[in-house]
C-alpha cells in the first residue's frame, strides 16, 4: 500500500543495461550531480547521511565561531542530555518507520507515565510506582499494536487517537496540576561515569542495542522486509503481526523510560510535559534517512538527526534567539528532510 509502484516494467528493462538506479556518488560534496554514470558499487546509506553531515558540520562551525561556550565539554554534555529523552524514543521509532509504521502517541505517553509515577509515589511507594509506570508504557504499546495489527487500523490514525486519549487521561490523573516528586532525582541527574549524565548513558546503550538489532538479528531484518513489502514479507514466512506488535511494545517501553527520566530531571511531573515530542522524534528519524514508505533507515542515521536538532536548538539558545524560533527551525527542518527523501526517491526511480 505504502509501496507505490515506483518502477514499472519499462524502468526495470532499461536498468538492465543503463548503468544505475539510485546510485549517488559516494563522495559527500557532489550529491547535486545530474546524470549519474559512475558504475562504482552502491555505498550503503552513505549518500543519505552525507547531506546531513554537511549541514551538521556547517552548523557546528557557525555556532563555534559565534559562541566561545559552544564547544566546551559542559555544553556538549548539555546537548547530549537534551537529546537523550527524545533519543530513547527515537530508536524504536526508527524501527517502526523502517517497517512502515509510525507512533504519534509517544509524547502524551511519556507525560502519562511521568504523572502516573508522580501520583503513585505517595500512596504506594517509589518502587511500585516505577513498576506501574513501566507497565503502563508496555500497555500503551500493546494497545497501539493491537488496533494496528489485529483490528487493522492505520498506525497514523490509531496513534493520533491514543495521543489525544493519553493526554486527556494524564490531565485527569494529575487533576491539571504539576505533581512534585522527591527522592527520585538520581535517574535524571546523576553522573556516574566521567561526569556523563546517567540519561545519556542509558540513551547510548539503547542506541547500541537498537543498531545491532536492526542490522544483525532476524527481528531487525524482518522490519526492513515488512517495510519494503508487507505482503511479500508475510509470504516468506515472517510473522509480520507478531514482529510489529513487539515493536510497538518496545516503543511503549521506551516511552516509559523517557517519561521517568524527564520526571526525574525536573523532580516533578507536568501533565503538559513532552507536548510535541512526536514531532521531534519523527523529524529526527526522517532526517536520519528513514523512508516514509518503509524499508529504509538506520539507528545511526537517527542519532545524527537527533544531534542535528540538538545542536540547532542549543546554538539558537546560545545566540539568544527567541526560543519560538526553535519551533520554526524544527518544522522547517522536517519539511526539508522529507523533501530531500522525495527527491532522492524520484532521482532513484527516474534514472
Amino acid at each position: 500500500m505504502t509501496q507505490a509502484s515506483q518502477d514499472d516494467g519499462g524502468t526495470v528493462q532499461l536498468s538492465k543495461e543503463a548503468p544505475a538506479t539510485g546510485r549517488v556518488d559516494p563522495s559527500p560534496s557532489t550529491t547535486a550531480g545530474g546524470a549519474v554514470v559512475n558504475p562504482a558499487p552502491r555505498g550503503r546509506s552513505v549518500p543519505e547521511l552525507a547531506g546531513l553531515l554537511v549541514v551538521l558540520a556547517a552548523l557546528v562551525v557557525l555556532f563555534a565561531v559565534k559562541s566561545p561556550y559552544f564547544l566546551t565539554t559542559n555544553n556538549i554534555l548539555n546537548i547530549l542530555s537534551a537529546i537523550a529523552v527524545t533519543g530513547i524514543i527515537a530508536v524504536p521509532a526508527t524501527m517502526l518507520l523502517v517497517a512502515g509504521q509510525v507512533d504519534l502517541s509517544v509524547g502524551s505517553g511519556a507525560a502519562f507515565c511521568g504523572v502516573l509515577l508522580a501520583t503513585q509515589v505517595a500512596p504506594r511507594g517509589l518502587g511500585l510506582a516505577i513498576v506501574l509506570a513501566v507497565v503502563a508504557g508496555l500497555a500503551i504499546g500493546a494497545v497501539n499494536g493491537f488496533f494496528i495489527n489485529v483490528v487493522g487500523v492505520n498506525s497514523l490514525i490509531t496513534t493520533l487517537g491514543t495521543l489525544a486519549v493519553l493526554r486527556g487521561l494524564t490531565q485527569l490523573l494529575a487533576d491539571g496540576q504539576t505533581t512534585i516528586v522527591t527522592g527520585f532525582s538520581a535517574l535524571g541527574t546523576s553522573r556516574p561515569f566521567l561526569s556523563i549524565p546517567l540519561s545519556v548513558i542509558i540513551f547510548a546503550l539503547i542506541v547500541a542495542v537498537g543498531a545491532l538489532c536492526m542490522r544483525f538479528t532476524v527481528f531487525g531484518r524482518s522490519l526492513y522486509a515488512i517495510g519494503a513489502n508487507p505482503v511479500a514479507a508475510r509470504l516468506v514466512g515472517i510473522r509480520t503481526r507478531r514482529v510489529l506488535i513487539i515493536t510497538f511494545v518496545l516503543s511503549g517501553l521506551a516511552v516509559a523510560v523517557s517519561g521517568l527520566i524527564l520526571t526525574s530531571q525536573l523532580s516533578a511531573a507536568s501533565p503538559v510535559a513532552a507536548t510535541g515530542l512526536e514531532l521531534t522524534v519523527v523529524t529526527a528519524v526522517v532526517l536520519g534517512g528513514a523512508s516514509l514508505s518503509g524499508g529504509r533507515g538506520t539507528v545511526l542515521g537517527t542519532v545524527l538527526g537527533l544531534v542535528l536538532i540538538g545542536v540547532l536548538n542549543n546554538g539558537l539558545v546560545l545566540l539568544n534567539v527567541n526560543s519560538f524560533w526553535q519551533d520554526v527551525a524544527r518544522g522547517t527542518l522536517l519539511i526539508l528532510a522529507v523533501s530531500f527523501d522525495q527527491l532522492r526517491q524520484r532521482f532513484s526511480a527516474g534514472s
Binding site: 509501496q3 516494467g9 538492465k16 548503468p19 538479528t217 522486509a225 505482503v231 515472517i238
Partner: protein, 498 residues
C-alpha cells in the same frame, strides 16, 4: 501509396547504452501488427517513440509519407496515436461514461452535459460490440471490461493508430475473445493497431503481420500467414527453441507429499481432491477465476478451509498462515510478483535468503555472510543474469531473473513442497524455458513435490506430469502422460466462468 505510419532506421540509447540500433517499422490503415520480442529487446522503447514519449536519437518518423519534424506527445495526439497500457490507467471511482470522456467533457456554458456524455460512451462501446451500463463505476467492472472502456475512450477520441501493450496479460479467455472482437471492429473501421504480446497463439489469432525485435534490431517482418511459430520463437530468442514437448515421465516416484481430500473454501472452490508425490509436477489448469490459484493458496494457509482435510508427508496438516506452512516445509510463489513477491527496494541477497533467516541465524543473530554465499551459489546454479553484487536491489533485475530469485528462495530454504501460482507470468521466453528446466530438474533430483496453478496451457504441456482441470471451483477432469495436450486442455476446461 505511403504507409499510415512509418519509422525509418530509428536509433535510441540511454546514458550511452544503445537500445535500438536502427529499426524500421510500418503500418497501414486497418492493419494489426504484432510486435514480439523478449524483455529488453526494445519493444517498449520503440512504441514510446511512436507515442512521442521518447525522441529518437536518429532516424525518421513519417505519417502518410510526410516526415514529422518534432515528434512529441502533443504531436502524437494530434496525429491520432493512442496507447493502451498494460496497467490500467483509468479513474476507478468515476463512471464508465466519465472515463470515456475523461479530459474531454462535453460541456455547455461551463456545465458538463451528462446526457451527451452518456451518448458518446454508449456509441463508443457499441462500436466495440460491448454493452454495459455506462453509469456504473469503472472499479465495479471486471478487468477485461475496464480494458474495453479504455479502448472505447481511445476510439471516441478518434484514434487512428492504437498501441496495445500486452493487454491480455490479466484477462480470462472469454475476455480475450471479447477484446479480439473489439479489435476486429476497429480494424474494419480502418484503425491501425500495434499489438505487443508474449503469446504466440494470440499473434496467429488476431494479427495480420508480425515483427520481431531482438536486442534492438528488427529480425523478422512477415505476414502472419507466411511464418511458423517455431520461426517466430527462433527469431525472438536467437536460437532454436525447445519445441512444445512433453517432459519425460518421472522414474520411480517418491512417497505422497501433499494429499488433499474434499477440500472446500467458501465460494472459492469446492470438494477438491488431489495428491502430489515427491519427484512429481502436478498442474491445476483452469481459467482465471476457476479456483486453481485459490486451491494452491489455501494449501499455503492463505484461505480459510470450510471442509475437507490435508495431509503433508502423511501427517495431518492445517496451516493457520504462511509462517506455519513455511515452517512445515512448503514454499510459495505468488501470481503477482511485484505486489506480493518482491521486496523491491531490498538487496537481492536478502530477497533470496529471507525465508532461510531462522536457519542461518544463531540465537536470533544473523550475519550477512551466509546470505551472500547463498546468493552467489544460486546465481550460478540458476544462471541468474545480473551483476555479482549481493547488495543490488532486486528491482534492478529483469522479470525472468527476479522470478528465478523468488524460486531460489525455496530451494535455499530446503522446502519439500513447492506451491506456484502462474510461475512464468510476465517472464520472457528464454527465462521461461530455464525455469521449466530448473523445476523439472529439482523435482527429479531433489525429490521435490511441485504443485502449480496456471491458466497457460502451453505451460502445462511443457511442465506437468499430471493435470487436474478446474472450472467454476471444481475439478472437472484429470489428464496424465501423453493425454496432456493443448487440445485436450482447452476442451476440458470447457465453458467459461461467469
Amino acid at each position: 501509396m505511403p504507409s499510415l505510419l512509418e519509422l525509418q532506421s530509428v536509433r535510441k540509447g540511454f546514458a550511452g547504452v544503445p537500445v535500438l540500433h536502427g529499426v524500421d517499422l510500418h503500418i497501414d490503415q486497418g492493419e494489426v501488427l504484432a510486435l514480439l520480442g523478449e524483455n529488453g529487446a526494445g519493444k517498449s522503447t520503440l512504441v514510446k517513440i511512436i507515442a512521442g514519449d521518447y525522441t529518437a536519437d536518429d532516424g525518421a518518423v513519417l505519417v502518410e509519407g510526410e516526415p514529422v519534424r518534432q515528434h512529441d506527445p502533443v504531436q502524437a495526439r494530434a496525429l491520432g496515436i493512442r496507447m493502451i497500457f498494460q496497467e490500467l490507467n483509468d479513474a476507478g471511482p468515476l463512471t464508465v461514461a466519465e472515463n470515456i470522456s475523461l479530459g474531454r467533457w462535453s460541456a455547455r456554458r461551463g456545465l458538463v452535459s451528462w446526457s451527451s456524455m452518456r451518448k458518446r460512451a454508449e456509441a463508443a462501446l457499441a462500436q466495440l460490440g460491448a454493452e454495459f451500463d455506462v453509469s456504473r463505476t469503472v472499479e465495479s467492472l471486471r478487468i477485461g471490461e475496464r480494458q474495453l472502456v479504455e479502448i472505447a475512450r481511445a476510439l471516441s477520441d478518434e484514434a487512428r493508430i492504437l498501441i496495445l501493450d500486452e493487454p491480455t496479460a490479466a484477462l480470462s479467455s472469454s475476455e480475450v475473445d471479447q477484446l479480439f472482437r473489439a479489435m476486429e471492429q476497429m480494424r474494419s473501421r480502418g484503425v491501425a493497431m500495434i499489438y505487443i504480446t508474449h503469446r504466440l497463439d494470440e499473434v496467429t489469432a488476431i494479427a495480420d503481420r508480425v515483427q520481431v525485435l531482438r536486442d534492438g534490431v528488427g529480425v523478422l517482418d512477415s505476414a502472419v500467414s507466411e511464418v511458423s511459430r517455431t520461426q517466430m520463437v527462433t527469431a525472438m530468442i536467437g536460437r532454436e527453441a525447445d519445441g512444445v514437448t512433453r517432459p519425460n515421465a518421472p522414474e520411480g516416484l517418491g512417497p505422497s507429499m501433499l494429499e488433499v481430500h474434499g477440500l472446500s473454501s467458501g465460494a472459492l472452490f469446492d470438494d477438491v481432491d488431489l495428491e502430489v508425490r515427491a519427484g512429481e509436477v502436478v498442474a491445476l489448469y483452469g481459467k482465471i477465476g476457476s479456483g486453481t490459484a485459490e486451491v494452491v493458496e489455501a494449501a499455503f494457509g492463505l484461505h480459510p478451509i470450510t471442509a475437507g482435510t490435508m495431509r503433508l508427508d502423511g501427517v495431518d496438516y492445517r496451516p493457520d498462515g504462511p509462517a506455519t506452512a513455511v515452517d512445515q516445509g512448503l514454499g510459495f510463489l505468488p501470481a503477482d510478483r511485484k505486489q506480493s513477491g518482491l521486496l523491491a527496494i531490498r538487496p537481492v541477497a536478502e530477497n533470496l535468503a529471507a525465508p532461510s533467516w531462522p536457519r542461518m541465524s544463531r540465537g536470533g543473530f544473523l550475519g550477512h555472510k551466509a546470505e551472500r554465499a547463498a546468493w552467489s551459489r544460486w546465481r550460478e546454479a540458476l544462471s541468474i543474469r545480473s551483476r555479482d553484487e549481493p547488495g543490488q536491489p532486486i528491482a534492478t533485475l529483469s522479470g525472468g531473473n527476479q522470478q528465478k530469485v523468488l524460486l531460489a528462495r525455496w530451494f535455499e530454504r530446503g522446502s519439500r513442497v513447492l506451491l506456484l501460482v502462474e510461475p512464468t507470468r510476465g517472464v520472457d521466453v528464454g527465462a521461461r524455458s530455464d525455469i521449466y528446466r530448473t523445476l523439472r530438474r529439482f523435482a527429479e533430483h531433489e525429490s521435490l513435490a511441485v504443485l502449480i496453478a496456471t491458466s497457460d496451457y502451453e505451460e502445462v504441456v511443457q511442465l506437468a506430469d499430471r493435470v487436474l482441470v478446474m472450472a467454476r471451483g471444481r475439478v472437472v477432469d484429470h489428464l496424465t502422460g501423453a493425454g496432456v495436450t493443448s487440445a485436450a486442455l482447452t476442451s476440458a476446461s470447457g465453458g467459461d466462468v461467469a
